[in-house]
């Protein structure tokens, strides 16, 4: 393990006992915990600045507007967007992807077109494309995943045959929430662009876990959730290249996104307002800005190194458990900070319930990844996912707890 300061003091939630044991929170793939700084940003907003934005000229409204637009600019810097207007606030990754699938899909997809995605997508980056394909008559195709344990990642050789000029859009996840596989996003964008396809990156699992630069990635759209990067629930982002956003019709309509409304019709503001109908989630946007500050103060490349070190350690120690089947990248190949595994004869839900008794928070199930599970011959896995506040000792606690469970069920 590289040396890494202990940041647990920043996270109030970590300092509690669960079932009489110190909480070992290893469910960061589902959601991350919030540092004091982010919670404080919420409190400060509501105690000092709360007001509606945009349409107000009084002091509180101007402060709220400055805070909200400041957060937009902060997030643009966080992902190196060329222009804050490329940052659209949404509820989260799922809404961001739905926005593209509907607005872009409605305008551009037609029968004969192909939407390409992969076999390892989260339902949120899969079902919206099924719906867009169904609505437009386009066909949905999948880049296969290689190996009995999906250890080979995406089949990049198959990509050549799949990436025909009929492909109008390629949507893929940056990091798989089930496998821990890290996809070569820059290469995928480059190859998609070569056939003229628009690219959508699901960055739910990569945002806040490593540096991320939309211009270097070369993507057209990128979606993420605040709650997976130390930010609050209820806020997320759709990044879209300006040139594309300006051509897109709005998804939702209403106050704040119109220029002129008559009883006959309406005209729209440009991005980002065009895509933000109604009162936005001001407080959580501002708190998301605070999360960016927090993560950058720690250093996202260091966080990435810490995550990877923890998952490497976990891989090593978990491999010693009898009968374990670990899916995703093999020991020694790059893997994000999560490990998914299964045991013959002991179901993930029983594991999660037992681990919880030891204070260890794990996730068991299909991880919103049913088709991939089915392909791997599994119905569920248990997943341990790490973040900046996890420690090597917590992995020991995890492994000890799993040993106890296995013993119990071996009877």
């Amino acid at each position: 393990m590289p040396s890494w300061p202990n940041f647990r003091a920043d996270f109030p939630v970590l300092h509690q006992q669960v079932n009489g044991k110190p909480l070992v929170y290893l469910d960061n793939g589902a959601t991350t915990q919030k540092p004091r700084r982010v919670i404080d940003a919420l409190v400060r907003y509501y105690e000092r600045d709360n007001s509606n934005v945009h349409r107000g000229l009084h002091a509180l409204s101007m402060r709220a507007t400055d805070g909200y637009e400041g957060a937009r600019a902060r997030i643009a810097r966080f992902i190196n967007a060329a222009d804050p207007a490329e940052i659209i606030f949404t509820r989260g990754t799922t809404e961001s992807i739905n926005l593209v699938a509907r607005s872009w899909g409605h305008a551009h997809l037609k029968p004969g077109d192909v939407v390409l995605t992969t076999e390892m997508e989260h339902h949120s980056n899969l079902v919206p494309w099924q719906q867009a394909a169904k609505a437009s008559g386009a066909t949905l195709k999948y880049v296969p995943v290689l190996g009995a344990d999906a250890e080979g990642g995406l089949d990049l050789a198959a990509l050549d045959a799949l990436l025909t000029p009929a492909v109008k859009l390629f949507a893929f996840t940056h990091i798989s929430n089930t496998l821990g596989a890290i996809n070569p996003a820059t290469e995928l964008c480059r190859r998609a662009r070569a056939v003229g396809a628009v690219t959508v990156i699901d960055a739910a699992q990569s945002i806040g876990h490593a540096p991320l630069d939309v211009q270097a990635l070369g993507c057209d759209f990128l979606a993420f959730s605040g709650h997976k990067m130390c930010g609050p629930t209820g806020i997320g982002v759709l990044y879209g290249r300006r040139a594309l956003l300006d051509q897109l019709a709005p998804d939702e309509t209403g106050g704040g996104m119109v220029v002129s409304v008559t009883y006959e019709g309406a005209t729209w503001k440009p991005a980002p307002e065009r895509f933000e109908a109604g009162t936005p989630n001001v407080a959580d946007a501002i708190a998301l800005g605070a999360a960016c500050d927090y993560l950058d103060a720690l250093g996202r490349d260091q966080i990435a190194a810490h995550d990877a070190a923890l998952s490497g350690l976990a891989m090593e120690k978990l491999s010693t458990l009898p009968g374990i089947r670990i899916i995703g990248p093999r020991v020694g190949t790059p893997r994000s900070g999560l490990v998914s595994f299964a045991f013959e004869g002991v179901h993930a839900h029983d594991i999660v319930t037992f681990a919880d008794e030891d204070g260890v928070a794990l996730r068991g199930g299909h991880h919103c990844n049913q088709p991939l599970m089915r392909k791997l011959g599994l119905t569920s896995t248990t997943r341990a996912s790490f973040y900046l506040y996890n420690t090597p000792e917590e992995i020991d606690t995890l492994v000890a707890s799993l040993r106890r469970i296995l013993k119990f069920f071996a009877g």
Partner: protein, 150 residues
């Protein structure tokens, strides 16, 4: 650990390890499928209904120890019962898993009383039962794989 020991009683572990009446029932004239979308647990129940009486019952699927043991035990309990008796028994079972109260005259299914301390697991315990009741209520359907979604 006391709650856990209550949850995973010997009866449950036993049914989980050696499920009874597992697999397709070739003579089934009713089938229903239950999903626990939260967990991904799945359970199919095959019934041979002779008039109003369950003369044969099996289950199939995958899931946690609680859901598998519950379905297994259920097949044992329901065999030979009428539809009305089955519904009645489910009422008793539901009461057990939600309140933890074990009626005295009930034996094996009382083992599920520990579930009540784990509200998130109640759905696991009732999955097979719901499938069975649906099969009882449903139209007679040939038990082929085409009749239920995987």
């Amino acid at each position: 650990m006391s709650d856990l020991a209550d949850l995973y009683q010997q009866v449950i572990l036993d049914h989980n390890r050696r499920p009874r009446n597992r697999g397709r029932l070739p003579t089934a004239n009713r089938v229903a499928h239950g999903d626990n979308p939260t967990c991904g647990d799945q359970c199919s129940v095959y019934l041979q209904l002779d008039g109003d009486r369950i003369s044969g019952i099996t289950f199939d699927g995958s899931g946690c120890a609680i859901s598998q043991a519950s379905a297994s035990l259920m097949t044992v309990q329901l065999k030979g019962k009428t539809a009305a008796e089955a519904e009645n028994l489910f009422g008793v079972f539901h009461e057990i898993v939600t309140t933890g109260k074990e009626p005295e005259e009930i034996s094996d299914i009382g083992a599920f009383a520990g579930v009540h301390a784990f509200p998130a697991r109640i759905k696991c315990a009732t999955l097979g039962w719901h499938a069975a009741l649906n099969a009882l209520k449903g139209d007679p359907v040939p038990a082929t794989t085409e009749t239920y979604k995987d």
